[in-house]
Amino acid sequence: MSVIRASGLKKTFRTGFLMRQVEAVRHVDLDVAKGSIYGFIGPNGAGKTTCIKMLTGLIRPTAGEAWINGLPVSDPDSRRGLGFLPEGTFFHEYLTGAEFLDFHARLLNLPASVRRERIPALLERVGIGHAADLRIRRYSKGMRQRVGLAQTLIGDPDVLILDEPMSGLDPLGRRDVRDLILSLRDDGKTVFVTSHILGDAELICDHVAIILGGRIVSEGCLDELLGKEVAGVEVVVEGISEALFEELRTGATRAVSQGSRFLFEYADEAQAEKAVDTVRSADGRLRSLVPRRRSLEELMVADIEREKERAG
């Protein structure tokens, strides 16, 4: 069953005095399955936030339609089971963390008994229980992001739309958010998350769509997109001569030397094995040998290049 669906979404902004047209989103179809973590990935300005604003009813599509839980997004009731984390800051700075959550909980008509229980628990869950009674004005960037996440969860939604939930977080914070998103999926919730940081998406998403210039250019299961086959093998060795380095480099797709260490990348395992044998017979030492899958980054870079070619 699809929880979020969009068909032919398009948004054209008119800006400036001359009403110049900006095509922020050209054509986007979405079909987000229940219980999945759906990564919506694209570089800056690709149209991710604009899409999300159309899904959450904040802007009207120029063309196309979208539904959440089967209801058209023009109907406010489509947002009944939705938790939304907008991009960037969006806080009532004069409220404390607890007051902020209470305000949003009451906008969802949650009864007092539920609020009393859920608010402290949520603040703990996102790791800012100690700052419950501190005004948000005094929060650090990471704390803001966390209280924002707590806000999206306050109504115990079954669909979450998170616009860059990891922006502004340190590595520990990113891990916390990743774990949080995974635990939401384990609870059977559907998470639609945008990012331009591919590593994050690769770690958690089941399904990925890559958006470029307002259009989805690749879309599918992560395994499907990246392919299961090995995209290359990285070999790191030590203690070889310059001459041998030059020799090994000829067959490699990439070669880097750093002090006494050398890194080679080969297109397939057979070539890598051969290089390792050569190194061993010359009394060099093998430090590591890692088969590498194609990364989301390469996929995106390839997509970008294809788009450029198409345009140019």
């Binding site: 904040l58 947002r79 305000f103 969802l108």
Partner: protein
């Protein structure tokens, strides 16, 4: 029911934001100073004491009330949009008209408090000066409230679709013109020119006629005020505010949050 609850929450939060804002206190402080300065002014006009206290006091309440209504009102709506706090709110089953109504009611409850404080000052000065108690003063203050509630509706109306600067300019302009409409109409009637009269008549009947709500002068003079006229004026203020709010809701409904 859910809707009423949300409007109440939105109103409460608006009120809370204003109460935690410095601008409000600065304006209130100024108003208090104005009222106190009326004592000093009165000393220079011996014999006309009472008239001056009443005039200056009521004028201060109306004037600073209007400033608070316009600037705090516009600022509070604008802030929700520019700081994007509105995004998380409207991405809930909250209706946009509920947001507008909640903001309005929050601002009106703020007006009640602030007029209450200023009036407290004002009446204290009157009592201190041994002025006889007159209910006309209370009526005058009540009508100042109606005028400010109408101004707030104007501010919300403009804020619902334009920038805070334009909204501020339009609202201040309407506030001033609203007090001059009778003169504008007289001008049209006296000129008698065919070209100008339809225009002045149109302005007179369409713009908010704040003079109708102004019973300050009559009250300060201690004249009796016609009950039927007051009832008509009150009804006018309520209906006009209602129409403006509905217009604001319609325009806000169409708005894109960028």
């Amino acid at each position: 029911m859910n809707s009423l609850q949300r409007i109440w929450v939105l109103a409460q939060n608006t009120y809370r934001e204003a109460i935690r804002d410095k601008l409000l206190y600065n304006l209130l402080l100024f108003a208090a100073l104005m009222i106190v300065s009326s004592i000093v002014l009165a000393k220079l006009h011996l014999g006309y004491d009472e008239r001056i206290y009443r005039d200056v006091g009521l004028a201060a309440i109306a004037m600073f009330g209007a400033m608070i209504a316009i600037f705090v009102g516009i600022n509070l709506v604008y802030r929700e949009i520019s700081q994007k706090t509105v995004h998380a709110m409207l991405a809930k089953p909250v209706r946009r008209w509920e947001f507008i109504l909640g903001k309005y009611l929050g601002l009106v409850s703020l007006l009640v408090i602030e007029i209450g404080i200023m009036s407290g000052f004002f009446l204290a000065v009157l009592v201190y000066k041994g002025s006889p108690w007159e209910w006309a003063m209370v009526w005058a203050i009540g009508f100042i409230f109606l005028e400010l509630a109408l101004i707030t509706a104007v501010a919300i109306f403009f804020s619902s679709f334009t920038t805070p600067y334009l909204a501020g300019m339009f609202t201040v302009a309407l506030w001033i013109i609203g007090h001059l409409l009778a003169d504008v109409r007289d001008f049209g009637l006296q000129q008698g020119s065919e070209g100008i009269r339809p225009l002045t008549e149109a302005l007179y009947w369409s713009l908010p006629n704040l003079d109708r709500l102004d019973i300050k002068a009559a009250a300060a003079d201690g004249n009796a005020i016609d009950a039927a006229r007051m009832a008509g004026a009150a009804l006018y203020a309520v209906c006009y505010s209602g129409v403006l709010l509905m217009g604001g809701m319609l325009l806000f409904q169409r708005r894109d949050f960028k």
